[in-house]
């Protein structure tokens, strides 16, 4: 896959606050890339820079190998589905979809055919003459998609397009979006703060926080091998624990030694303090005394498919979060075990002094 969009050390400040702190990003042709992060992490600003609505203070934006940093939005081969759709309220559905073609003085017959095609694509045949305020949220979302794609952009930017929809509709639209992307064969750059959306739809997930990219990778990599506590915490439920490497491929957590698969080669030599992530579904429940450690169940919640339990460890202060299909009662004493490949070792976040020292080098 060839590279379509490249951001090179993008820095953006609003007044005195730094919103983007040197963003490097590469999006390949035909890829579904999701920028994921909490509000204020800089994901929307990144999208607006690619769309041409903001100018970066430093860094360059490349599109298909050409520098488009200074190109105005209306000349970029990029279209956007905006967060609140931004449909033109004084125009009907057909006129909204026709807008980009009327701008380019396309013949009326061509426009008519295109509107038909676009409406069919988003499953809203025959909606040409509806007024915008007659549409439901989900329908508005589809019209916004139709309007953005008739121009045949090479990249579609989607700014939290499902944020205003209810849960059921959101899940339906996720399938719809993946189908649309396949049919159109174009690149999608998607923004969301919803980790589930990011994991289900994307080829690549880019986790952002406080103007930095924290981690980039496939949904599986992001979920199974988070590089730091922020990513682990943001993606799914997890136990994030303090630990220390005490021997080659052995980590001590809460007074118990666990074999793991990371060692000096991965940058975790014996003696180093680390953060450890253990997903709640990766902790196996055993009869009392037969696991690696013991605890008492202090609370239990039924969440549809599985039970979620909090377990107070016998060794120390730690409360473990467990997910299990089997039912156990509150107050029950259990043993627990974690397989070495399910123990994800991460570097401790650097203190400011450490990062400063590293920059000097």
């Amino acid at each position: 896959m060839s590279e379509l969009i490249r951001l090179e050390s993008i820095v953006k400040r609003f007044d005195d606050t730094v919103v983007l702190n040197g963003i490097d990003l590469s999006v390949a042709e035909n890829e579904f890339v999701t920028l994921l992060g909490p509000s204020g992490c800089g994901k929307t600003t990144t999208l607006r820079i690619i769309g041409g609505f903001e100018k970066p203070d430093e860094g360059r934006v490349f599109f298909d190998g050409k520098d488009i940093t200074d190109m105005p939005a209306n000349q970029r081969h990029i279209n956007t589905v905006f967060q609140n759709y931004a449909l033109f309220p004084h125009m009907n559905v057909g006129e909204n979809i026709a807008f980009s073609m009327r701008v380019r003085n396309k013949p009326e017959q061509y426009i008519k055919d295109k509107i038909k095609y676009a409406l069919k694509l988003v499953n809203l045949d025959g909606f040409e003459n509806r007024r915008i305020d007659q549409l439901s949220g989900g329908q508005q979302q589809r019209i916004a998609m139709a309007r953005a794609i008739v121009n045949e952009p090479r990249v579609l930017l989607l700014d939290e397009p499902l944020g205003a929809l209810d849960l059921k509709l959101r899940q339906e639209m996720q399938y719809e979006l993946v189908r649309l992307k396949k049919e159109l064969g174009i690149t999608f750059l998607y923004i969301t703060h919803d980790q589930e959306e990011a994991l289900t739809m994307s080829d690549k997930v880019v986790v952002m926080n406080e103007g930095y990219i924290q981690q980039e990778g496939t949904p599986e990599q992001i979920y199974d091998e988070p590089v730091n506590a922020f990513v682990a915490d943001f993606i799914g439920d997890s136990n994030i624990l303090d630990g220390q490497m005490i021997a080659e491929r052995v980590v001590r957590i809460d007074g118990v030694d666990y074999p793991c698969i990371d060692g000096t080669e991965q940058g975790f030599p014996p003696g180093r303090p680390v953060d450890v992530v253990i997903r709640p579904e990766d902790i196996d429940i055993m009869p009392y005394g037969q696991g690696q450690f013991n605890g008492t169940i202090i609370s239990k919640l039924f969440i549809g498919v599985h039970y979620e339990m909090l377990v107070q460890s016998e060794n120390g202060e730690i409360e473990w979060l467990l997910q299990n299909y089997d039912q156990h009662d509150v107050g029950e004493k259990i043993g627990m075990k974690v397989d070495p490949e399910n123990i994800q070792i991460m570097h401790k976040p650097k203190s400011e002094a450490e990062s400063a020292r590293e920059l000097d080098l």
Binding site: N74, N79, F99
Partner: protein
């Protein structure tokens, strides 16, 4: 019992509001010049009105000034709103505070201030000074009615239009202007009625030989008011009534169509 009381209450209010106007309308058709004795139906005061050069001149002045002043105020006010939208929030707030002061200011102060200003710059008072003054005091109202339409949503629609390939000019004409239109229309109508209504500011900024309806009536009061003015007032009232009814009818029909 409660119902009857309510009806009587509303009737009294209606009488208070409309009885004076009704009296005026009836007297405009009175044959005699008397303001108290009914002598018979006649249209002579309407005839006198349409033949009086002074009155017709005042009517022409009133409405031409109102239309021109409203036009100028609408254009200047709308441009001001567009300019303010591009400013920082703090500057914008300060400007809006300045915008609100003239509306709270007493008309008489505004009138005298404008008169002194014209005297100082030696601008002979007449039609143009009235027009200038009216446009001036209407601008804040236009800004106030257009401003709420120019919001975050309008910005977003503008960006969406650019995103779809429109030039800034095209996006402004096709997207922003239609969004602002209701505000612009109500700003224009507000300015028009305020200008027609105004007496005090007109009184201070007009020159010797020029009158609008309000200043004409005022000067006639001193020498004895003529029933042809009742005729004029009746016509203005009926025109306003007809306009109001048609607008409301169209509105309710449009609402039903939804």
């Amino acid at each position: 019992m409660k119902k009857i009381f309510g009806r009587i209450y509303i009737l009294i209010i209606m009488l208070f509001l409309y009885l004076p106007i009704l009296t005026l309308i009836v007297l405009s058709f009175n044959e005699a010049k008397s303001m108290s004795v009914w002598t018979g139906f006649s249209l002579r005061w309407y005839q006198e009105l349409f033949h009086s050069k002074i009155m017709m001149g005042a009517i022409a002045n009133t409405f031409s000034i109102a239309i021109l002043a409203a036009l100028i105020a609408t254009i200047v006010g709308t441009m001001a709103v567009l300019g303010m939208a591009a400013m920082k929030q703090r500057t914008e707030n300060v400007l809006m505070a300045f915008n609100n002061i003239p509306m709270l200011n007493a008309d008489i102060v505004t009138g005298i201030a404008l008169m002194l200003f014209f005297l100082m710059i030696h601008w002979p008072r007449g039609y143009m000074t009235i027009l200038f003054s009216h446009a001036t005091f209407c601008i804040p109202y236009v800004i106030l009615s257009v401003k709420p339409r120019m919001n975050k949503n309008t910005d977003r629609l503008f960006e969406a239009a650019l995103d779809l390939g429109a030039s800034e000019k095209y996006a402004f004409r096709k997207i922003v202007l239609p969004e602002l239109k209701p505000g612009i229309m109500s700003g224009f109508l507000l300015s028009f009625t305020m200008s027609v209504d105004d007496f005090i500011i007109t009184y201070f900024t007009r020159g010797a030989g020029i009158n609008t309806i309000s200043t004409l009536i005022y000067s006639e009061v001193k020498i004895g008011i003529r029933p042809s003015l009742f005729a004029l007032s009746t016509i203005i009232f009926v025109v306003a009534l007809v306009v109001l009814i048609t607008v409301n009818l169209r509105q309710s029909r449009a609402d039903r169509a939804v």
